[in-house]
Each structure stands twice: as C-alpha cells, then as structure tokens.
Amino acid sequence: MTTTLRDPTERATRETTFREALREAHREAMRRDERVFLMGEDVARYGGCFAVSLGLAEEFGEERVRDTPLSESGFTGAGIGAALGGLRPIVEIMTVNFSLLALDQILDNAATLRHMSGGQLSVPLVIRMTTGAGRQLAAQHSHSLEAYYAHIPGLTVISPATLEDARGMLWPALEDPDPVVLFEHGSLYNLAGELPVDPDPVDITSAAVRRSGTDVTLIGYGGTVPRALDAADLLARRGIDAEVVDLRVLRPLDDATILESVARTHRAVVVDEGWRSVGIAAEVSARIAEGALYELDAPVERVCGVEVPLPYPKHLEDAAVPQVDDVVAAARRAVGDDA
C-alpha cells in the first residue's frame, strides 16, 4: 500500500481577493448552518457598502440577508436579541466610527449578559465592521478604533490581514458562544492573491509569524501587516532581517507569540494605525515591557497614527497614518542602523 502525500504547492488554488474571500466565508457559513444570517445597512439589495455581500441576497433570500434602517443601535440590539433567541447573526456595521452608536448595545448587552445572568445567557453574535484610513473618506469614516473594543472584557476582537484569515476567521467566530467583533481594514478589500479552493481552518486565538527574522520584530495587525511585510523587504536590502508578527486577535492578545518573537530578536516595532495614546500599540508595548524587559536590546518603537482627526487630502492622510518608510525608519532605530 502506498501513501501519497499531497504537495501543498500542487494544491488546487484560485485567484481571489480579500473581499471575495470574506464573501465566500459568509456563503460557506450560511450553507453550513441555517441559523446564520446577515443584517446591516445596504447589505442585501445594494450588496454591501464595500460589496462584501454582493449576490448573497439573491442566493440566500432576504430572510437571511437583511437590509436594516440606518440605526446602528437598533439593528445591533436586534442582532443581540436574535443571538439570545438561538440564531447566529452576523451584524455588519459600515464603519467603526458609526459603531459608536451601537457601543452601548455591544458593551452593556452583548459583552455583559453572560456575566449578569450568572452564565445563563450567551450572545453568539458576530459584528463585522470596516476600519482604517487610506481611501480619502475623511475623519468620520477613517478612524482605527479597534482599541475601544479590545478594551472590553466579554468580547473577542479579531482582525484578519490575509486572504486565509478573511476566508477562515468568520466560521470560528460564529462558533464562539460569545460575541466576536471582526475588523476589516478598508485598504485590504482589494488585496489579491491565490487561495486554496478548500482552505484550511484557522483559529481565532493566536497571533501568527508572517515572516521569520532574527534582528527585529515588526508587530502589526489588519491594514498594517502588509506595510510591515513591505518594510521587512526594504530592511532586508539593508541587511536587516525583520520578523513580522500579525496579531490577528486583538482581544485576548496572544502574549506568548509576541514575547517569544521578541525574546529571539530582542527588538520590537509595533505598527498601529490607531492613535498612539492608550491604544493597541501601547498595550502590546506594555506587555513586552512586562514579559520581556530583560530580552530587550533597544527601547520598543511604536509607529502609530498621528493624533488628529483623519484628514481628507491625500498627502495629509498619508502623513497621518503609518507608512512603510516610517516602519523602516523605526526598525533601523531599533537595531541601531544609523548609516
């Protein structure tokens, strides 16, 4: 008897995008579990503000792909109710800025009911929202407020940055008995590449090393991961071997992967489009200081969003969020490359 090991490079793949991978994830979830449905502003007839759900209403009907009024608090609350009632809702909120209208529902109900009911109630809800800058949508549509949600006990907060995660994270999020907030960085929707036709499952518990290196760890999530990878390419030309860690899960943070990487490279650059003060990068830096201080050969560097409302003009918007060159400069400071 012979065993044939399938060479992963020969695995059947197809060309896809981050947006299509998300759509495929919805399609798979709705096929696998009839309790799953999607609701939000313009998700059905318009196909979603960012076209993630394009075609799903036609395929699954308007019972399971539902347009809602422009009332974030109302439809998020309805999603919580549906989850309490046994369904597996996916609530899409157009941008994280608008999600603040639903913050009371998310914090005071979704994240809290298990605690307040003594464990009797669970809210298996997935809330998806777009985040981030880069598309000249100005201050009310461009902020990165992931930290607001990563602050809240009772939530799991995830942030796909790759096609695999766009395709794979929705299902484990739906399987989670507690609410999960899934952030989609607006600059990633058109990210294109190959994805296996039958992709491997992914977890929503761990960070991932996207590139191995020995000199410095670049830590990013969502929209900053591609920038960190580009920075690593540029650093390699200077002889600096950068490792890239994709946080993937913003709450709870995977300390082990972060600390293990920093313990090998002894230098860390945290890249975060959110504002510098009291943000994800601040939290990651603090954990490095708590858990790996004696491994550090240089101060932790943070490359963060400038603390202003996101500007509209292209050149000002670019100046306000971390760019590849900023990451390169920070990594060079960390390794002491001042040539």
């Binding site: 004696y294 050969d297 400071r333």
Partner: protein, 407 residues
Amino acid sequence: MPSLGADMTEGTLLEWLVKPGDPVHRGDIVAVVDTTKSAVEVECFDDGVVESLVVEPGTKVPVGTVLATLEGPDGAPAEPAEDTGPAAAAAPTAAASPPPPPSHPHHLHHGGGPGRISPLARRLADELGVDLATVHGTGLHGVIRAEDVRAAAEAHPAAEAQPASPPAVGHDAQARALDMRHSIAALMTRSNTEIPHYHLTLTVDLHRTLEWIRERNVGLTMSERLVPAAALMRATALAATEVPELNGHWVDDAFRPSEHVDLGLILSLRTGGLLVPRIGAAEGLGAVAMMARVRDLTRRARGGRLRGSDLEPPSLTVSNLGDQGVESVAGVIYPPQVALVGFGAVSERPWAVDGMLGVRPLVTVTLAADHRATDGAIGSRFLKALDRALQDPASTMEQTEQQQKEQ
C-alpha cells in the same frame, strides 16, 4: 597622577576619556586610573583644552607624574594639568562616542546616550562576567547593546572577578586582591605600631531614633528610605562637630583639626578587601541626605566607579559591622586620623527603664582614639554627644536651615 588615597604611591593609567583638542572643565572625568584598590575616575581640576596626553594607557607612574597638559581656555598654554588633587565630580564624558546635539529628538525620546545600557546587555554582562564599565557602546548615541557586550566578552574571555578592573591592565583578580591585601596590611601595621589606641564603649538606646526613622520614612520613596546607619552617621558627624579634638589628622607630632567632618565609610567588597571612600562635609547633611550619599557611594564603590574626590583622606572614619551581627567593633585607626567610631548590630536587649526591666533596641558604640592626640575624657565627651544626638532625633536628624544654606 593624583594621590587617590593616603597609601597610594603610584597608579596605572587605564584609559583616557578625552583626547587632544577636547575642551575640559573643572570636575570633568578625564581618565580612569588603577590604584591597587580599584579603578578610579580622575577628575580634571582646571578649565581648558587638552593639549597633549603624556602618559600612555597601561603605564604605571608615581604619584605626581604629569599625565597630560592643558591649554588655557583662551588658547594660551597652561601649566601641566593633572598632577595634583582632583576636584568636585561632574558628568562623565566619553571620548569615543560624542554626545549628540541636545536638540536631537531621539535623544530625548529614547533617553539614550553615553552610559546607557540596554536591559539585555546588562543581563548578558552579568551572565558573561563582563564589566560594563569597560564596554564601548556602539548603539545610537553610544548606548551599550548586547553585541557590544558579546564583543567585549570575546576580546577578554577571562573576565575578571573584580568588577572595577578594566581588562587592559592585565591584573587578574587574584593579583588585585593580593595587592589590596598588601596595602591594607601595610596601613594597619603602621597604625598598630605608631598609634597608641585607647577604646571607650557606650551602649545607646535607639528606640527614639528608630521611632523617628519609622515616621520619617512615611512619604519617602523606597530608594530614599532611611536605615539606622544613616542616623548613626548623622549623630557621629554632630558629635565630631561638638568634639573637634577627634576630627582631624596627626601630622608631624601635632594634631591638625579638620575644617569639615569628612566621614570615611569602611566598605567591604564582595571580592574581598576594603575601600574607605568619604562623605565630605558630612556635618551639613541631615539623615536623609546622608542616606542618599551612603547609597550613592556604596553603589559606585561596588561598581568600581569611585571618583578621585571620594578617595581624599577622611577626617574621621566609621566602621559599621552591624549587618554582620557583631555586638561591638573596636577598630584600628586609619592614620593619620586620630579616631574611628565602630558600631555593632542594633538589637533588642533587656534594658533598665525607670526602675523596671524593659526591652529596647540597643547599639554598642566603640570609640577607638589616638592617645597621642586625646585622652579618655575627650573620648567620653564624644560618646556622650553622640548619645545625646540619638536621644533627640526630632531636633538633631534634620538638616538645619543654616546647613541647607551653606550647601
């Protein structure tokens, strides 16, 4: 070559921290010199520009040898420079890594700069037995990083046990310990041969002082907190002011009182041997300031970074072996001083209080004094003054306003 201790006759120049053309100021640390006891930073005592370095690193020269010459600040040639006593301490300079312009944003941002050491580098130095004082930092703004420590470890695989000794000397730890033993032997033999010692002992009730310390420590940070030794040294300085006959030197068959109470502090090194750095003008220091000086001196002595001014001759020395648990210390005087005050452990013992037996924290103070300079009556006055200071801590332990002004 400055004299960095009463018993020093020669020294080895280890390292120049300046080069010709560098401007220097009074108090700048310009070189590191190896005495038989430790590596000592030599302070410049004049302003000017370094004209030439006369002595090469690694050379052993007698005290008084010209090490370098300075030009005056206006460019006029000045007389030979580093051949007399050192001056007050100032910020160190590192010739190899010039400090960045102060406006550099990353300097402020990162707090980098000469003398900065990364946590990893510090840990590695500990693991590899590398003396960080000998490591040249190649990070931004001269920060010492892990690779600098590794390079130093490779360059000098047999790291010395004595942290103070830069590898350039070629001394090994054993030879250094032997050298130190020899100088202690010579000095102590001289003391016991020349000085007719008398010893007086007094047991002092410390309960008021300890109570005062407990109250005073409220509101002090961990690194400022007082331990009893600070109060004992404060009381010693006050007693020496009150009884100046014990504070000074016996030179040419006569006692020369000292203007200030320069308290010598006997520190035993982990590697064996002793150092006796001093706290100058200790009479002006309250217990809190005294504590800070003791901490600073201990840290630098153990780290091998004493300065020339730390090693100028004290006028009176204190030996505190209380933490070793001994009851009393009848010491041997450091010539040419005329007294040494020894403190045993502070311990709770039975004590008669108002006709009853009580339990009190007690310390036994032993004065060793030179009978050529004083008689027992003066020694007794000294011990009584010391006792009085410890019985009224509220009015004796704080710096007076006048003392603050004088500082």
